[in-house]
């Protein structure tokens, strides 16, 4: 999972940490202190997950989350080491594997994980981590060819036209059950949104439903030919969700630093620039705390 370069960085960091700790026999340093001392912030992102985190043709991990990780690290005055992780069966598993405990196969945890839901009810159930720094609101949308109709009712449309979805997702399950299964036979499953959008471009499906950012990125330079809009999902309590970061419970100073750094990125439009770079529309998280960067760089917060 680590690239050689990362391991070297860690080896150097560990060496410096050992020196530091033998010199200072005081209280245990905080996670933030340790990160600053070793000069590396390790950030977990999902692998194979365009446009958020994926490998480019040279094998580097790039994407929205990767760029945010580098920007956060820069704000903290350190370098980012990106840990690209596989998704387990649930978000709880991912938090356990990557944030607070580590996978039982070994490998330890990252300092911060990105692309973590920012949701009060979910946070209550997961008290081993601190949820901070909401940075984006994801939304389920549908993409169809332009000109299909101004007053398109997607659910009605897809009772006779095929719609592509990513297997084993909210959109998948919703469309399979919508209208008591009326459109079930029109749902075509793909292993990711990229493949579903390719099928749309090739005319194999009439639409694709799924997260906005993934669909927009996959449409790429053909985006102008397609209409992308939110899909009404009657009977479902949510069709959008906020995303933020997670750090291990107990690392309060790190959590605060990440919160502050993310706020600055948001305020300075760095986040929207990153999203634009990956051809995705930036949407503010709904639960953003009102934050202002004072002229002296201080962050003030009003809830």
């Amino acid at each position: 999972m680590y690239r050689i370069k990362d391991i070297l960085i860690f080896a150097a960091a560990v060496a410096s940490l050992v020196l530091a700790s033998s010199a200072i026999a005081e209280d245990e340093p905080s996670a933030l202190d340790r990160i600053r001392e070793r000069g590396v912030l390790e950030v977990a992102v999902y692998n194979d997950f365009p446009p958020f985190s994926y490998r480019d043709e040279r094998g580097r991990i790039v994407g929205i989350d990767a760029d945010i990780a580098h920007a956060l690290a820069k704000s903290l005055g350190v370098a980012a080491a990106i840990r690209a992780v596989g998704a387990d069966e649930s978000m709880e598993d991912d938090l356990r594997n990557n944030v607070w405990k580590g996978h039982y196969l070994g490998g330890g945890v990252a300092d911060v994980m990105l692309h973590v839901p920012y949701d009060a009810a979910f946070a209550e159930e997961n008290d081993r981590v601190i949820f901070v720094a909401p940075y984006y609101r994801e939304q389920v949308v549908v993409a169809v060819e332009k000109g299909v109709g101004a007053n398109l009712d997607p659910l009605d449309y897809f009772s006779h036209e095929k719609v592509g979805v990513e297997l084993d997702t909210l959109t998948d399950f919703y469309l399979l059950s919508a209208y008591n299964g009326k459109i079930r036979n029109q749902v075509v499953h793909f292993s990711n949104i990229g493949k579903a959008v390719n099928a749309l471009k090739n005319g194999e499906v009439a639409g694709v439903a799924g997260p906005r950012s993934e669909i927009e990125f996959a449409l790429g330079d053909q985006a102008a030919n397609y209409a992308v809009g939110p899909i009404q999902m009657p009977g479902l309590s949510t069709s959008g969700w906020d995303l933020g970061a997670a750090v291990k419970q107990g690392n309060g100073a790190l959590a605060d630093a990440v919160e502050k750094a993310m706020s600055q990125l948001r305020q300075s439009s760095s986040l929207s620039k990153i999203f634009t770079q990956y051809r995705s529309t930036y949407q503010l998280p709904s639960r953003t705390r009102l934050v202002r960067v004072e002229p002296d760089g201080r962050i003030s917060q009003r809830d």
């Binding site: 999972m1 680590y2 999902y46 692998n47 997950f49 992780v85 596989g86 998704a87 387990d88 069966e89 649930s90 978000m91 991912d94 996978h103 039982y104 196969l105 490998g107 692309h115 973590v116 839901p117 949701d119 009810a121 979910f122 994801e138 297997l167 084993d168 997702t169 909210l170 998948d172 399950f173 919703y174 399979l176 059950s177 919508a178 299964g181 079930r184 036979n185 029109q186 749902v187 075509v188 499953h189 292993s191 997260p211 009977g235 479902l236 309590s237 949510t238 959008g240 969700w241 995303l243």
Partner: protein
């Protein structure tokens, strides 16, 4: 690959000295080859254990009776062997034995060759596992198969590896599938007609199950039979891959394109019956988990498939849990047995029922509960072969209007099953099956807002709960004709190890508390036990060597229970991990 270095050097030296053949230096037994005829006769032969199930029919019965109900109290350790390293976790393997060599697999896809007389290691193979594997259910391996001069086993990264029995060197290797897509392989391979038969593990990622046959000498594919209707099977004529007919009938029991990702993983080992010339392979639960989304029987999930080894075609099937909504995999083994002139087979399912099938055609002959509580069905209709459902099914989370946690449904058995992977045994002497059962249920509820890969998801929550205060595990002697439980042994922790029975009137099995135990096959009286130091979730075997009968079992607590077991996991938290093999024989004094 890593052979332990000093062994490697010794081997190289031995080869160099002999100059002509390494075989000469290996105590004169290295010329011995495991033939298909020997494998087919494994159940009756006492000098060796060549196959998973101690015979391909899977009875786990040995005709040996030197160790018997009268003298089993004198059973003492002959030797013990440590799997070493820092890698422990669940040790679920069944050893195989041939000509003074034992081959046993351990967690993390390791394989050891051991001198059965001394307990000394001959060589060790540590499969190099790639980063980023996410095995669902612990890093176990269930054993190897012997064929010719090869020992063949599967790995967590979905490879199948054939090693030379003498050296541990790789002779051939084949990729079953892409571990990055969720595939792995942990079952013991089956050898049939000079072919190695395997399935695929990884039922939780929308993979498609299939049974594959490869030339056991080269690893070249001979046929592939998918386990979900609509998928094309293939057969190789020489090097030419040819279509071999679709499994079932497309969209007969699945809506839309859902058969394409329908699950039914074949993650446990199969059995083979030479009398009917059929391979019996079990299939897992259908995908996705929410049964409301896939109305229909969802064939051939939760079934046993009977496959013709020559053609790779399904001869018959029997489905245990149509439109499964409780995660009751149908992968448990089908064990062949004869009753008079009737060719029958027994299967103890996750869903709590014991099934007796006519193994010539898959027709249901008998079905009865082997656990005390079954909520999802009140029985099985012997005429139609279908369950009589009670209607206790989890609700549909997409129907939740308010986004709140849905009603909690309690249902027994739990998804870990009235019996899980651990193989049962059948004694032709007592005509009883010995079933390692567990009494537990589960709370199921819908969670309209859960998250998966950072995205909102419609999930289900579950917690496994014991049904009784004093025990979860129950080793039960089951009469397949009457459906009566003849005797039972209750165990505090869930039973998770294989069972063996012998002509000595004994039944052996292990417990998570660390004991290997011997019971009277007729009465269930506990006659002997030995504390191995860690939980026993492996499969015991027995063989004869220099006129003495030996018994071996791996020890090392782990498997799915501590990872998935809910309230039960809390109950077994105190159990220590381990990694060793214990061998016993009768005391000389």
């Amino acid at each position: 690959m890593m052979i332990s270095l000093h062994r490697k050097r010794v081997l190289l030296k031995a080869v160099a000295i002999s100059g002509i053949s390494a075989a000469v230096t290996f105590t004169g037994t290295a010329n011995a080859r495991t033939t298909q005829a020997e494998i087919d006769g494994d159940a009756a032969s006492t000098q060796d254990v060549l196959s998973w199930g101690m015979g391909q029919q899977g009875q786990r019965y040995s005709p040996l009776k030197k160790i018997n109900t009268d003298n089993v109290k004198k059973l003492v350790p002959a030797w013990s062997f440590s799997f070493g390293g820092e890698k422990q976790r669940g040790q679920e393997a069944q050893p195989v034995i041939k000509d003074g060599k034992m081959f046993v697999t351990a967690s993390y896809s390791r394989l050891y060759a051991i001198d059965t007389k001394t307990g000394q290691e001959l060589w060790q193979y540590d499969h190099r596992l790639p980063d980023g594997i996410l095995p669902c259910c612990d890093v176990v391996n269930r054993g190897a198969a012997l064929y010719d001069d090869l020992v063949i086993f599967g790995t967590l990264d979905a490879r199948i590896i054939a090693l030379h029995q003498d050296t541990g060197k790789v002779v051939w290797r084949a990729k079953i599938d892409d571990y990055k897509a969720g595939y792995s392989f942990t079952a013991a391979p089956l050898i049939v007609k000079d072919m190695v038969i395997t399935g695929v593990s990884g039922g939780e990622f929308g993979v498609i199950g299939r049974v594959e046959a490869r030339d056991a000498k080269t690893g070249k594919l001979r046929w592939i039979r998918p386990s979900v209707e609509g998928h094309m099977g293939h057969i190789w004529k020489g090097d030419k891959k040819m279509e071999n007919g679709i499994t079932g009938k497309t969209n007969a029991t699945w809506p839309g394109d859902m058969w394409k990702t329908g699950g039914a993983a074949t993650w446990q080992g199969g059995t083979y019956d030479h009398e009917t010339d059929l391979i019996f392979y079990g299939t897992g639960n259908p995908a996705p988990w929410n049964a409301h989304l896939r109305p229909g029987d969802n064939l051939y999930s939760t079934s046993t498939l009977a496959i013709d080894p020559d053609t790779g075609k399904i001869v018959w099937h029997y489905q245990y849990t149509p439109n499964d909504g409780w995660d009751y995999d149908g992968v448990n083994e089908l064990v062949s047995f004869n009753s008079g002139s009737d060719k029958l087979a027994g299967h103890a399912d996750r869903n709590g029922f014991f099934y007796v099938l006519d193994r010539t055609n898959g027709k249901l002959k008998n079905a009865f509960p082997f656990v005390n509580r079954i909520d999802w069905a009140k029985g099985v209709d012997l005429k139609t072969g279908r369950p009589l459902e009670t209607g206790v099914r989890p609700g549909d989370p997409t129907k939740s209007k308010d986004g709140k946690k849905g009603d909690v449904v309690f249902v027994a058995p739990s998804f870990l099953g009235a019996k899980n992977w651990m193989p049962m045994a059948y004694s032709p002497d007592t005509e009883l099956f010995y079933v390692p059962a567990n009494e537990w249920g589960m709370d199921l509820w819908n969670e309209p807002i859960t998250y998966k890969k950072g995205a909102a998801y419609l999930g289900a929550g579950f917690t496994i709960k014991p049904l009784n205060d004093d025990y979860i595990g129950a080793l039960r002697a089951v009469n397949p004709k009457t459906g009566k439980i003849v005797w039972e042994y209750k165990n505090n922790a869930p039973l998770w190890g294989g069972v063996m029975t012998t002509a000595g009137g004994l039944v052996f099995t292990g417990t998570p508390e660390g004991y290997l135990k011997a019971f009277d096959a007729k009465t269930g009286d506990e006659l002997w036990k030995f504390q191995t130091g860690s939980g026993v979730v492996g499969c015991p075997v027995t063989w004869e060597q220099d006129g003495e009968q030996y018994i071996a079992v791996p020890s090392g607590w782990g498997g799915a229970v501590p990872l998935w077991g809910g309230d039960v996991a809390k109950k077994v938290k105190y159990l220590n991990q381990g990694g060793s093999l214990w061998v016993f024989k009768l005391s000389d004094v």
